[in-house]
Amino acid sequence: MFNKRKKIIEFALSSLLRKKYKNLAIIIVFSVIISIISSILFLTNSLKKEAFQLFVDSPAIVVQKLSGGRHELIDIAYIDEIKKIAGVGEVQPRFWGYYFDSLTDSNYTLLAIDSKKDKRLDLIKGTLPEKDGQCAIGAGVARVRLSVINDDMLLPLSEDNELNVKITGVFSTDSNILTNDLIVLTKGDIIRFFDMPEGKATDLTVEVFNDGEVATVAKKIKRMFPATRPIQKSELVRTYDTLFNWRGGMMIVMFVGALAAFAIFAWDKATGLSAEERREIGILKAIGWETSDVLELKFWEGFVVSILSFLSGIILAYVHVYFFGATLFEPALKGWSVLFPQFTLLPFIDTYHVFIVFFLTVAPYVASTIIPSWKAAIAGPDSVMRS
């Protein structure tokens, strides 16, 4: 059995080599199609993972203050009022803001963390700032500023004033989306940097004991302070969901997949089995090959072509998404890149998706090589005695 299989595989390979230009062309086209499909899958998948990470730690409700549609500082005094609402746990002020660094032409998020139970603490290399004049920075910031631990960080405030802090920690890249553009400072430095008045914070986070009560609590806060906007976690999720356009992505995947399958089948129909291939199958049958032997031969031919295309397509997609930041899809990701200017994706491959791509591509191709040959092979071998 083993000898037989080996010889049939060898013959399949030599048959492919005989038509090497045709097969090479198929492999190239096929790889590109597969890499487009898998790029989309990898990309949407990575974004979903990132988003999930983002929301696991986020508070049930974030309360912002709006004035004429603009985000304003909120009174810390609101905290005591909000705490009185039934079902509400901790209420914390947050001190943060965006900062545009003209030196590197990039946006940073400046944030004070003093809650030691913050999950993000696990991700640091070095330490968080312990006193004024210290900071911890995200991997993206470290990269664009070419900074390492113990370097000084100068953040210009105005023409004649600047904040000079020492870097005590750099976040690891594992938590990219959370910390990439982050500079963590002490509360005092943040207040000084953004020139926040006494008794004000950027926004408030509200913990709610029971998930089912979040909406009610948000409504109560809104009634209590009409100038605020309580943002629920679920709303955030929905916003990000539309941003990733997950469903849209799936549509594209299916569309491209269907198109590719269609193209392959149409192409195969158009070329069909050439008279030459038909004759070859007839000869094999006539000299003692069984139909199953012919099908095995054709299976290996189709399998080799499609598995090569599959592997190179997957590798291409991986390189495209994770090393070149999915540049080809940049226009579609505009919304994302505004939020996260130096955003690089975490390599993450879901075997489930790889299997989907495998069955969407390898299986139909193998079938499309076997089926016409099977039709030719079941005809009696006596056909070669004529013609």
Binding site: K7, E280, A286, G288, D293, D382, M385
Partner: protein, 230 residues
């Protein structure tokens, strides 16, 4: 001598029930003995190729019996037919039916690929038959570089690689000049001397007028008209 091949009232109808229905054989009963050289003779279209392909288990008759070494093959499954074809018959086709892009060696070895022999065994067997037919020096040449006579030898080598008991040849001289035709006949006679039964379908006088023939079956319009033995 026993009958190595025996047909009884074989009928073969193509495209049965369709407007282009064609009755190729109308009840053919013949006997061919082991070790004979037998010629199927008759005008084009009389059913020679059809009878040859039925005897060689390439197709099944519409009705009637076909006994190969005493066993009725008419109703066997495809798998068994292939097995019998592989172990018993060597075919030499009218148009050599070689794969033009493959080498001489590959063409000759191809019948053994689906069997469980090793590559080395195949190599030995192929080289042996190629040597016997004096074509071993072209072993690695692709078929398309060979002359007609050389291609014929490769086709014969391929027919012999399974060491078959019966050789079936359909119009083997149709594409050969008279020198090559004579070479071919010599090869057939030699194979016959080794003990192989040979059945040749032909309407070429160069073949059927030769003295070596043991049995001539005259066919006309799908029927056997006359059988001569000598």
């Amino acid at each position: 001598m026993e009958d190595i091949i025996k047909t009884e009232d074989v009928v073969c109808i193509f495209n049965r029930g369709l407007p282009d229905e064609m009755v190729a054989l109308r009840g053919v009963s013949v006997e061919i003995k082991r070790g004979e050289i037998c010629v199927l003779r008759g005008a084009s279209g009389c059913g020679k190729t059809t009878l040859l392909s039925l005897i060689g288990c390439m197709a099944r008759p519409t009705s009637g019996k076909i006994m190969v070494r005493g066993r009725d093959v008419a109703k066997l499954t495809e798998r068994f037919l292939t097995e019998i074809r592989r172990s018993t018959f060597g075919f030499i086709f009218q148009q050599f039916n070689l794969i033009r892009e493959l080498t001489v060696f590959e063409n000759v070895a191809l019948p053994l690929y689906p069997l469980d022999s090793t590559f080395l065994q195949i190599k030995h067997m192929a080289e042996e038959v190629l040597g016997k037919l004096h074509i071993i020096h072209k072993k690695n040449a692709p078929i398309r570089q060979l002359s007609g006579g050389e291609q014929q030898r490769v086709a014969i080598a391929r027919a012999l690689i399974n060491n078959p008991e019966i050789i079936l040849a359909d119009e083997p001289t149709a594409h050969l000049d008279s020198k090559l035709s004579n070479d071919l006949i010599d090869i057939m006679v030699n194979l016959n001397k080794e003990g192989k039964t040979i059945i040749i379908a032909t309407h070429d006088p160069e073949v059927f007028e030769h003295a070596f023939i043991n049995r001539t079956i005259f066919m006309k319009d799908g029927l056997v008209r006359e059988v001569r033995t000598q």
